[in-house]
Assembly symmetry: C2
Homo-oligomer: 358 residues x 2
């Protein structure tokens, strides 16, 4: 079985402002370790996938940053989306490239800006998923066991009763993909035990992807043939034209929600989407008063504060539940429970024309 | 009448850390205007005193900083205390220098790190005080009308019934200088109406100072004659010896509390000692939600915050009653009502050997 990993690296992550910027998206930040998230994403799969079969996909600008973060990947594996057209066209391009080399290759679509703490377990599950995908035309996805009724994730409804087993791992037939629910619905999902969070990671054989596209995505399938053609001919202009015309649509909506024959494997390997500053409270080590610090700090009577300020001394006096982030040109002080509003800061900067800070 | 102003500039002001440092005491900070406090202290008296008769007194290190802040003062007017020996020896040295030029000169001892908002009123009162001091051997001091029962200031008990009038201003005989009181006592002082806060500003004729020293300070007076001698001979080594031997004692304790013939003039000219960060809430302009800002800032749901961060963008989200101060190498986030604890930070830095931040 040949396995090719595609690491999607097109996200922006404005919720980590002021650390995240237009040219420094979340996947390039060293917020979960001393390495950037995309470096972690690649390193964790190296025991399973050689660098020659690891690709990234992002726009041209981000790809330049990726090149600096991942010098170990062959330059030809840093794939560029000519235009941002959401995940379906992006993954059609990636899968088409792999299909042209060998249609039976298993494609593992992975994220560049999520945390996985149990790396060995993840690799074991990924290996099993690839095995499962290689043996059939089924798609495999990872479902995260939900821990609270989140309204921020999509859910996967599955059948617990009739699992398929590959490489000793259970795979459950997917009943339905659900978009981000209302709170009451999320509570129901959590209570039923038959729902996972959608992790955004998928595994499929390249030829199976083409067949599912043909069967379930009539609006997209015509572009598949055109893609193969322009890639074979290395026709960059033709590729750009395809991206100008192709519908902008997510892979979930275009394919996953419609496809029969999708299996879900439990992603109980310490996954976190690291969605905003406060999520780091669960990731960074904390002192006995609940403070999580990156950088030198003196704390007086301070509790449950998160400080990112490497290279400078930070002193907190009498502060509680605060997020404090300093960069070269900006400083954020934010109440822990309001960290979603950091996006509003970015919006406000856009409106105010303060593009230096974006 | 000849008037010579002596601006005491030896204070350190650790309560404005991280802006205030060993080499950048409070009087050198631009916290009340775009100028430093010592620049303000000199500029406000220029209509009354020419630069040739304005002197500063501080240690050697601070005097180098003063030179940069006050290029308009003659270099010979930047006087250096050979050793820190509290205010009495410091003012003996200053007054002796003036005495040697002309014993009848009126000496106005002023502070370098206090705010005076009503400058014209201050000048009028200072002129009257100098007039009063020139016509008698009385000392004149400014008493600040107290606005709350502070336990952080010394008090002046005075007789309201029998004021002396000079230049249209009333001068009250001082009954007693009181050290920082307990709270209950401070409440009494405030209620009686016969107490002012001690501003630390004094006016005396040089010869009157010598006579009061002779009469009331037997432990200090022998050094007066020695001072005149070493100054006449420009004997720097002799001056250092005097400072090695002279008792370290405050002018309040050595002279003011004991001297008869001290008058107090009401210092109702918008005085503030600008004691700590939170005092700037009353000085800086505030927005409609009570925020006071120096530097570019975006505020979401934030109230009663003070930000000093020139040159950087600061974003506050959901914060209340916070002081946020950033400098090149340090950041302070402090609850407004705990700003006195900033001194503890400085202590903690000392103990931790982090002298770079002192």
């Amino acid at each position: 079985m040949k396995l090719h990993a595609v690491i999607m690296a097109g996200g922006s992550g404005t919720r980590f402002w002021p650390l995240s910027r237009a040219g420094r998206a979340k996947q390039f930040l060293d917020i979960v370790s001393s390495k950037s998230m995309i470096q972690e994403a690649v390193e964790r799969i190296l025991p399973l996938v050689p660098p020659e079969r690891i690709s990234t996909i992002a726009d041209r600008e981000k790809t330049e940053v990726i090149r600096r973060h991942l010098p170990g990947l062959p330059g030809k594996n840093l794939w560029i989306e000519p235009l941002a057209r959401n995940t379906a066209p992006c993954l059609m391009l990636a899968t088409a490239k792999i299909y042209l080399e060998d249609p039976e290759t298993v494609v593992a679509v992975l994220t560049s800006d999520h945390l996985i703490t149990q790396k060995e377990k993840f690799l074991k599950k990924l290996r099993a998923a690839a095995d499962a995908a290689s043996r059939s035309l089924d798609f495999v996805t990872f479902g995260i066991p939900p821990t609270f009724p989140s309204t921020g994730y999509g859910y996967i409804h599955f059948s617990r009763e009739t699992p398929v087993v590959h490489s000793g791992e259970e795979f459950y037939p997917v009943r339905e993909f659900k978009e981000k629910p209302k709170f009451e619905q999320a509570v129901e999902f959590l209570g039923s035990g038959d729902y996972f969070w959608n992790s955004g990671m998928f595994v499929w054989r390249a030829d199976a992807f083409a067949r599912k596209l043909e069967k379930h995505a009539p609006g997209l399938f015509p572009f598949w043939g055109r893609l193969l053609k322009v890639l074979k001919e290395d026709d960059k202009r033709g590729l750009l034209e395809i991206f100008r015309e192709i519908p902008s649509i997510s892979i979930d909506y275009a394919l996953m929600e419609k496809a029969r024959g999708v299996l879900v494997e439990e992603g109980d390997f310490g996954w976190s989407d690291v969605g905003a500053w406060s999520s780091l409270f669960d990731i960074w080590p904390r002192d006995e008063r609940g403070n999580a610090l990156k950088g030198d700090a003196i704390l007086l009577d301070s509790e449950n504060c998160l400080v990112y300020n490497p290279g400078k001394l930070t002193a907190l006096v009498g502060t509680k539940d605060l997020i404090v982030v300093e960069t070269e040109d900006a400083l954020l002080v934010c109440r822990k429970d309001l960290d979603q509003k950091v996006r509003d800061i970015v919006e406000s900067l856009k409106k105010g024309g303060k593009s230096d800070f974006l």
